[in-house]
């Protein structure tokens, strides 16, 4: 459940960011609407190369292998928006500079194959 976006926060972060867009649908499990769509996958690949490959490399590096992640669509979204300081190191919060669509498209890309 994406219950972490409080109304007060939206004013602090850019209004076009994923923070504000994910806020209204707190009730049901979110599903990626872009799965399997070729154009979205191509865009997601570009974003992956620009922002994620730095740490996640082709099949995992400083961060785990995203092509093998067991997270649900919504859990994936939550980690990318909020970041996470896990045992392995900091997963930065991207909610500040990626739109909900951008994140879904990266997710569609990683779901479309088993390595970069």
């Amino acid at each position: 459940m994406i219950g972490f976006v409080a109304a007060g926060l939206v004013a602090v972060v850019a209004s076009s960011s994923a923070w504000s867009q994910a806020g209204d649908t707190a009730e049901e499990e979110l599903k990626n609407p872009y799965l399997g769509q070729e154009e979205a996958i191509a865009e997601g690949r570009r974003t992956y190369r620009g922002r994620c490959i730095l740490c996640h490399r082709n099949m995992g590096g400083r961060g785990p292998n995203l092509f093998a992640t067991k997270l649900t669509d919504e859990q994936f979204l939550e980690v990318v928006i909020n970041g996470r300081l896990g045992m392995r190191g900091p997963m930065p919060a991207f909610g500040y500079r990626m739109s909900l669509d951008d994140i879904w498209k990266v997710h569609a890309f990683i779901k479309s194959r088993d390595r970069f």
Binding site: L9, R49, R57, N58, R62
Partner: protein, 585 residues
């Protein structure tokens, strides 16, 4: 509600956690002290110990004959997020100055192991997303009243040496563009000179000089020449604007020649066929006028580099040596492209180069007169072309940023190398798009190891151009080295072993398991007549691309033979105010 607390720390603030106990007045480090650092046998005043960067301690108490008796005297945990330690501690006036991940700084009383002060910078949200290789910090600089540290977000901070409070801070650049800083500042006369990382984010590399007293910006010197400057013609069109050539490894200085030497890293983007030409001064060693930043000369190691062979790693070492009967003011560097270079440091003239690892195949050879390397075009990843493998060395290099050491008595340079290869496949040209803070044109990359042994500690006789010994390691090596007049070489490995090697024979004489991978550089100092050796241990940096984080760590270890740890009323635990007040009736 973790997101709420994150928002609350938006905007950089800086906290120095106060003075824990009063310190006596300190003797300040001045320019003459830095120039004559070699004569100050007991202390370690700058990153490379001396301006020539030899990392050679003149101390002789610990020798091959007695090093087996060396034991830990005390240790200190740097705590925090345990995100990896890569620093070289400094030692001055009984105090160790240590930098840890996220550029946290500790001043520690070396007699007691107790913290005098600590400095914990705070950063804007999102910084981690543009730091390529971990939130490392490699060291500090001293001068006058100040300890200088460059923060991960490129702020240069002068801390008051007495209590760690911030005297001034200068913001060098906008980290959101992908510019970060991890290196130790270099103080030359009244200049604090700093560089930056971010070669993969489409930036144009530079070094900057700030006034050591006031923090005022004095000059900026770009490594990639702009229009009208010599070398700009080696870049087609406006490719120079995002040409890379970053400066993330600390430079060195020759006080006699009054030349500042600083290396520049790989050109950007990685697709070399979109920037056909030599791409000066990427992958080069550059000599600057330290007062103006004007470039005096440069020497390029890997022209039009498609392999990410940052030419600045590690920093070179200045040595005076006789080669083929000729006395030369030389500089020696074992380069990431797999070759060790000897240059004339007065004019950048090439003297010779030798391969430091087996199987180098990216070049058809180095011109014996000019030193220019020719790329083997069958190994050159073309934009949108097929994958190429195995390319040797790997982009992490024959060696990398971790500092080498030199023993002038023996004439040997000591350095760590790794035997590995890579696959590269260059992306199509249309995929190279500049977006601030995003990776700018990277190849598809895969690393391969090549044999049972991975890393090697090597000794090379510079005058006689020959390798003397090597010590293999089953895992990669990412630690710096220390040489001592006592005849030892100290370094560490990813398994966590800190070791002492006989400088002459290469025999490993002593090992200690520090608990986590060693990615930092050892120092030696003398306190109350006794020689100590110190090293930071803590897995981090580039090895985290290849190893899981375990065992994580973050420790300063201090060793000696019959070392002394004085008792002290001070404490390294910090009481929570009001948690346990004194009971009063």
């Amino acid at each position: 509600m973790k997101s709420l607390s994150k928002i609350a720390v938006l905007g950089a603030a800086t906290v120095a956690v106060g003075l824990l106990y009063a310190s006596p007045v300190q003797a300040h480090v001045e320019t003459e002290d830095l120039v004559n650092a070699d004569a100050n046998k007991a202390e370690w005043l700058m990153y490379g110990r001396t301006y020539d960067n030899q990392r050679f301690s003149p101390l002789t108490e610990i020798t091959p004959a007695n090093v087996s008796e060396m034991t830990p005297v005390w240790a200190f945990s740097t705590g925090g997020k345990f995100a990896g330690l890569e620093g070289t501690p400094l030692f001055h006036d009984g105090v160790l100055y240590v930098s840890a991940d996220y550029a946290r700084v500790f001043a520690i009383d070396a007699r007691t192991g107790m913290v005098k002060w600590r400095y914990v910078p705070e950063y804007d949200e999102g910084l981690d997303a543009v730091v390529c290789c971990g939130p490392s910090n490699r060291g500090l600089a001293l001068k006058g009243d100040f300890v200088y540290v460059q923060l991960l977000d490129t702020r240069l901070v002068a801390l008051n040496i007495a209590d760690g409070t911030v005297a001034w801070e200068a913001t060098m650049d906008d980290w959101r563009q992908g510019i970060a800083s991890t290196g130790a500042p270099l103080v030359v006369k009244d200049h604090v000179i700093v560089g930056h990382a971010g070669g993969e984010f489409g930036v144009r590399g530079y070094i900057r000089s700030y006034n050591a007293q006031t923090g005022a910006l004095e000059w900026t010197a770009y490594t990639i020449p702009g229009p009208g400057e010599p070398g700009n013609e080696t870049w087609p069109g406006d490719t120079w604007m995002r040409g890379g050539g970053t400066t993330w490894v600390t430079g060195i200085y020759d006080p006699e020649l009054d030349l500042l030497y600083w290396g520049a890293g790989n050109p950007a983007p990685w697709n070399a066929d979109v920037r056909l030409g030599d791409n000066l001064w990427s992958n080069s060693l550059i000599a600057f006028d330290p007062d103006s930043g004007d470039i005096q000369w440069g020497f390029q190691f890997t022209p039009n580099d498609p392999f990410d062979y940052d030419g600045n790693a590690p920093g070179p070492i200045l040595i005076d040596v006789t080669i083929d009967g000729e006395a030369i003011k030389a500089m020696v560097q074992s380069n990431r492209n797999g070759f060790l270079y000897v240059l004339n440091r007065e004019n950048g003239e090439f003297i010779y180069a030798v391969p430091t690892i087996d199987g180098i195949n990216w070049t058809t050879g180095i011109d014996p007169v000019t030193g220019r390397a020719s790329i083997d075009m069958t190994m050159y990843p073309m934009s949108g072309g097929p994958k190429i493998e195995p390319i040797i060395p790997n982009l992490e290099g024959g060696t990398n940023w971790f500092p080498a050491a030199y023993n002038p008595d023996l004439g040997y340079i000591f350095f760590n190398t790794n035997d590995w290869a890579m696959m590269l496949k260059a992306i199509p040209e249309e995929d190279i798009v500049y977006v601030p803070g995003e990776y700018y044109g990277l190849h598809d990359f895969q690393a391969y190891r090549l044999g049972e042994n991975f890393g090697y500690t090597k000794a090379f006789d510079v005058a006689n151009k020959k390798f003397v010994w090597e010590v293999p390691s089953t895992e990669m090596l990412f630690a710096g080295l220390l040489a001592t007049k006592g005849g030892l070489v100290f370094t560490g490995d990813e398994r966590g072993f800190f070791m002492a090697i006989d400088a002459k024979s290469g025999e490993v004489l002593w090992r200690f398991q520090t608990g986590s991978g060693i990615n930092a550089s050892p120092i030696s100092y003398e306190l109350d007549g006794k020689q100590y050796v110190a090293i930071l241990s803590g897995m981090g940096g580039d090895p985290l691309y290849y190893y899981l984080e375990e065992p994580k760590g973050g420790m300063l270890w201090v060793f000696a033979i019959d070392g002394v740890l004085q008792d002290s009323p001070a404490s390294n635990v910090v009481p929570i105010p009001g948690a346990v007040p004194l009971f009063e009736q």
